[in-house]
């Protein structure tokens, strides 16, 4: 397969956003900044069309993986860049482009009138381009390039309202945490280059499948997991995501719910054959996922700010995806990733509408209440998305979550129990949010200003997303086929690749198992009941535990946030020490000291003869005596 045979849609994926950004930056920004979004929305449409077209191509078995150009070369060492349009990639790409376009449309309405409108859209679309690049890269170095670009875009967007102190802090925290994760990915890529001499995914799959033992593989595997944990906000490095809510809602919806945070999971999907070859590593991923899911679900239930609840919910669902991956269910993880993209984006946009209606950057649980009647459309969308998240039967969320619970159940043991608890937990926090926001007037909420329904440009995208979330269950079949297409039927343009590959990872989703589905729905119902009990029937309860030691624990994520802040201040103290004491005092002191030493030596010699003739003569005598002494010895 040669570059000419690459379908034009693949070129358009990149050409459209690049031209839109350049056109926007050089032309629109000067002429009509408030219309910057027009070329960008056109590019979104083009990208979505191309993505769906490519999805159809892959669905009919025409996926491809091809080197386009040699990026860098030195002697035998070389890195090529290329395109890989295969099942998993194009599936996520389709979701990202569809959800992304809707959010772009939403953002056009949401951000209207903001001073940095054009800056927002340019960076927003830069992120969109970076995400496309990440999903279609065919080797680790190219993936790392777009991986970092996504991190920078998130930094610029979280810190969009940079006059706010909290936004600046959150942006820096997000970027530095991602950098810590990228430490792992950069080292992993370097080790891969060292160990295998190549970086193409597919050729690495061949090597992994060949069963040979590679001593560096475990280290590479762990580092990849470390990087994924940072980007997909898993346990040790998740704390940046809740703070990233400082960014505008479209950013939270697109990046910190649907697309960017899934990059970590996608990295593990892309490098799955390498990770599966390391005994015990998948199990580690499963346990990290499960623990994070449960941990985040509990905290989500205690948050006050609507977007923070959804942020912890995202952390929890990413944990579920990791759990699925850890159990070898690549298909299930992908399916949940796509479904989650729909309903989480919808929930975020609903929260955005509520905040927009209250004319605040973000809405707090105390400010909202009884919006059921005044914001009908948003309420309907929220309802659909919330039920899908909780895993109510006909909706998409049920199928993807059920698949995960089924996998966990069959694995049995701790994971199964945690899976069920997470099901309950997620139902609890989403229904709590539903009741607090839309039902019954809380006595303390009366002072909230009169909320009115969002204008159509905000409402319609939300509705589409909610419908998507609802109907996502139907995608079960195509997703399985895509995942299969990703591994098995793989004609490719890569050099020296002809064999069809049987790679580890179960592409097919488990069939519906009544006991698991029943138990899952029961736990969800239990969660919803608890939410009803704690918010509606006993109105004061929600605020009873505030202010106590319990709230301090919940606020600081059981002490993890204080630990992280302590670590950060330790690093800056170390820097202060190195910069001031070690460098200025120590090394520089030594240097300035030598000139002082020379002057002191001069003074000492000068003192030995204060200009008296006799001293001069005495010194001459001593000198001659010394000379004679040495000569005669």
């Amino acid at each position: 397969m040669t570059a000419a045979q690459v379908p034009w849609a693949a070129w358009l994926l990149f050409a459209a956003p690049v031209t839109a950004i350049l056109f926007g930056f050089f032309v629109m920004r000067r002429l009509k900044p408030e219309w910057t979004h027009v070329p960008i929305l056109v590019s979104c449409a083009v990208v979505t069309a191309s993505a769906f077209w490519l999805a159809a191509e892959v669905y009919t078995g025409h996926s491809f993986d091809l080197n386009l150009f040699r990026f860098a070369e030195a002697g035998t060492w070389a890195v090529d860049f290329g395109l890989r349009i295969d099942g998993p990639g194009v599936a996520v790409l389709a979701m990202v482009s569809f959800v992304g376009s809707l959010i772009h449309l939403y953002a056009a309405g949401y951000m209207k009138g903001d001073a940095g409108f054009s800056r927002f859209f340019l960076v927003f679309h830069l992120f969109f381009l970076a995400m496309i690049g990440l999903l279609t890269a065919n080797n680790f170095v190219q993936l790392y390039l777009f991986w970092e670009l996504v991190g920078v875009a998130s930094y610029l967007l979280v810190g969009f309202w940079f006059h706010k102190e909290s936004a600046r802090k959150a942006a820096l925290k997000a970027f530095l945490t991602n950098r810590v994760g990228d430490f792992g990915l950069l080292l992993a890529v370097l080790l891969i280059v060292l160990q295998f001499k190549i970086t193409h995914f597919h050729l690495l799959y061949l090597k992994a499948a060949s069963g040979a033992a590679f001593e560096l593989l475990p280290v590479i595997g762990v580092l990849l997991v470390w990087a994924a944990c940072a980007k997909s906000a898993q346990f040790p490095l998740y704390f940046w995501l809740p703070d990233a809510m400082e960014g505008p809602t479209p950013t939270s919806a697109l990046m910190h719910a649907a697309t960017m945070v899934t990059a970590g999971v996608f990295l593990l999907v892309r490098s799955w054959p390498l990770i599966a070859a390391v005994p015990g590593l998948p199990h580690l991923i499963a346990w990290i996922g499960a623990f994070t899911a449960l941990f985040a679900a509990i905290i989500a239930g205690t948050k006050k700010d609507l977007k923070r609840i959804l942020a912890y919910s995202t952390v929890s669902h990413l944990g579920l995806m990791m759990l699925a991956l850890g159990l070898g269910q690549v298909g299930v993880a992908l399916f949940h990733l796509i479904v989650h993209g729909f309903f989480k984006a919808a929930l975020f946009l609903c929260a955005g509408n509520i905040a927009h209606a209250l004319h605040q950057p973000t809405a707090n649980v105390d400010d909202v209440g009884g919006l059921q009647k005044s914001m009908r459309l948003t309420y309907l969308s929220f309802l659909l998305a919330a039920f899908s998240l909780a895993g109510v039967f006909p909706l998409g969320g049920f199928f993807s979550k059920d698949a995960i619970l089924d996998a966990a159940w069959h694995h049995g043991g701790g994971l199964a129990v945690m899976g069920m608890l997470v099901a309950a937990g997620s139902a609890f926090y989403i229904f709590r949010m539903l009741f607090l926001a839309f039902y019954g007037a809380r006595p303390e909420q009366k002072r909230a200003p009169h909320a009115h329904e969002a204008e159509p440009i905000l409402g319609v995208p939300v509705l589409f997303l909610a419908l998507g979330a609802a109907a996502a269950g139907l995608l079960k079949g195509p997703i399985e086929r895509f995942v299969v297409m990703g591994w098995h039927g793989m004609p490719s343009g890569l050099p020296g690749l002809d064999v069809v590959l049987n790679l580890p990872g179960e592409p097919f989703l488990p069939h519906l198992n009544l006991t698991v589905a029943g138990l899952g729905t029961f736990m969800a119902a239990l969660g919803a009941l608890a939410a009803w009990r704690l918010t509606m029937s006993d109105p004061g309860f929600d605020w009873r535990w505030r202010g106590g030691a319990l709230e301090a624990a919940f606020e600081s994520d059981f002490g993890w946030k204080t630990f992280v802040d302590g670590f950060a201040s330790a690093v800056s103290r170390l820097a202060g020490f190195t910069g001031k004491v070690l460098d200025k005092g120590g090394v520089d002191g030594l240097v300035e000291g030598t000139s002082g030493f020379a002057r002191a030596a001069g003074a000492a010699i000068a003192r030995s003869a204060q200009g008296r003739v006799n001293d001069y003569l005495w010194w001459m005598l001593a000198g001659t005596a010394l000379l004679l002494g040495r000569v005669l010895r």
């Binding site: 040699r70 990026f71 860098a72 070369e73 030195a74 002697g75 035998t76 060492w77 001073a115 170095v141 790392y144 390039l145 970092e148 670009l149 920078v152 930094y155 810190g159 940079f162 006059h163 600046r168 942006a171 820096l172 970027f175 530095l176 950098r179 810590v180 990228d182 430490f183 950069l186 080292l187 370097l190 080790l191 280059v193 060292l194 690093v571 800056s572 170390l574 820097a575 202060g576 020490f577 190195t578 910069g579 001031k580 460098d583 090394v587 520089d588 240097v591």
Partner: protein, 481 residues
């Protein structure tokens, strides 16, 4: 032209003389000669690129007394670095166009460019040393006459520090030449003829003498404390040339003199030299975090960046050498741009502190864009030039001595920890009580043009580094172990 290389270093020198006497029209003469210099080096570079026979242009003069001969040669490494010198020199002339300075300002810059070209062309160790020292004189006057408040101390410290290193380098060269004479009976300073086997047991002493001279210039960690002072006190254009090219003389010295003469010794020294280089990436980043002066922070970041160049070069692997050498050029562009912008800020407000500015993103959007762009390049964002050099250097270091690469990657991570908070303090944070942000007007057309060219180059090297790597490759082929 019978003597292409002589004209290459003589032209800027002639320009310096013309500028010195040109009085009020000195800056136009400087612009003319700088453009001529860029033209000359570009012509030679393209001629060399297109025609393999010209891979190495030699110019061998008669042998004079004491075994000294006027011997110049230019392979792709030299031409590349001279190209960087010429380009940055032109950028400096354009960037300091509005300054009211005496004609000697332009004369010093052209003299500096000429001396630097001499260093990169010389193949006779005597001339290498003469040009090496000669670069100190113009920079001494640039810092001393046009620097900022504490320039006196910084200028003398800069000169003395570098001279201290190079004096011991001179002794090493003398020992090498004498040993060669004792064995072969011929007095010669020619790099190609001299071989270090004649030194026998004294070889390590001579090797470390040479390395000491180069290490001060790079600078390597314990010998670096002249750099922050010199950079902070030098005028903007001075810092650009100092960071952009003069730091590269040290690494070039290693590549051209120390490693070819002592192949085994230089590789055995990898744990020590490589260790220092890797440590400097972390140490530089930590020190940069602790700075409150913008220019001092960028100076410390240069120490970290040069650490990567060294890591790559010392690993003696093909990708390490290519990455390290490319990083020399990258650092010149990125840090050059950063220093220029700090210079523009200093021109407008006579302030350099992080706390002195605030909320510049809204007041000077173009400055914010370019500063952000260069900061990301210096932090090593893939897609920009910093990443390519660092990635290949680390890959080389990993193949040679893995522990170095671990430290290097930690250095890459720490880079963001000092660069972004500084960016935020200056551009995003609200203007503090004592801030001078209202004095800061946005960049004018001239300044933007300069920064557009630098940014375009950063993007080009970042996205398509292959032609640049291919250009340097023939000169580095000999050094791969």
């Amino acid at each position: 032209m019978s003597h292409p290389l002589t004209i290459l270093w003589a032209a800027p020198l002639a320009g310096a003389v013309v500028c010195a006497v040109a009085g009020s029209r000195a800056k136009y003469a400087a612009l003319g000669f700088s453009a001529l210099f860029v033209g000359l080096i570009a012509a030679l570079g393209f001629a060399q690129g297109s025609n393999a026979a010209l891979a190495v242009v030699n110019e061998i003069g008669p042998v004079w007394s004491y075994g000294i001969s006027y011997r110049l040669s230019a392979d792709s490494l030299s031409i590349g670095l001279i190209g960087l010198t010429a380009f940055l020199n032109l950028i400096c002339v354009v960037a300091s166009w509005e300054l009211e300075v005496s004609p000697w300002y332009w004369a010093c810059f052209l003299a500096l460019a000429s001396a630097l070209t001499g260093v990169f062309l010389a193949r006779d160790l005597f001339f290498f040393y003469v040009f090496w020292e000669a670069t100190l004189i113009p920079m001494f006057f640039i810092i001393g006459l046009w620097g900022s408040s504490n320039r006196l101390h910084a200028a003398v410290k800069f000169f003395l520090f570098t001279f201290a290193g190079s004096v011991f380098m001179l002794l090493a060269l003398l020992a090498l030449v004498s040993a060669h004479h004792r064995v072969s009976g011929v007095w010669t300073w020619d790099l190609a003829v001299l071989d270090a086997s004649a030194l026998g047991s004294a070889a390590p002493l001579v090797f470390w003498g040479l390395v000491l001279g180069f290490a001060v210039k790079i600078p390597m960690i314990p010998l670096h404390t002249w750099l922050p002072d010199a950079h902070t006190e030098a005028p903007a254009a001075g810092s650009v040339m100092l960071a952009g090219v003069m730091l590269k003389m040290g690494v070039y010295g290693l590549l051209r003199v120390a490693m070819p003469l002592f192949p085994t010794l230089s590789f055995d020294a990898l744990p020590v030299l490589g260790g220092l280089a890797a440590f400097s990436t972390i140490y530089g980043a930590l020190c940069a975090m602790a700075q409150t002066d913008l220019k001092r922070m960028i100076a410390y970041s240069s120490i970290a960046h040069l650490g990567f160049c060294l890591l790559g070069v010392l690993s003696r692997t093909s990708q390490g050498l290519a990455g390290g050498t490319l990083q020399l050029v990258n650092h010149g562009l990125t840090t050059g741009a950063l220093f220029l912008m700090v210079g523009f800020l200093y021109e407008r407000s006579h302030k350099r502190g992080l706390a002195d500015f605030g909320d510049l993103a809204s007041r000077a959007p173009y400055l914010a864009f370019f500063f952000g762009f260069s900061t990301l390049a210096s932090v090593g964002l893939p897609g920009l030039n910093g990443f390519v050099g660092e990635f290949m250097a680390l890959s080389g270091a990993l193949a040679a001595l893995p522990i170095l690469a671990f430290a290097g990657v930690l250095g890459v991570t720490l880079a963001a920890a000092y660069a972004l908070p500084a960016f935020q303090a200056v551009f995003w944070a609200p203007a503090g009580p004592g801030s001078v942000s209202d004095k800061v007007t946005d960049l004018d057309a001239r300044e933007r043009a300069v920064l557009w060219t630098l940014s375009a180059l950063m993007l080009w090297i970042g996205l398509a580094p292959r032609p640049w790597l291919a250009y340097f490759e023939p000169a580095l082929r000999g050094l791969v172990r």
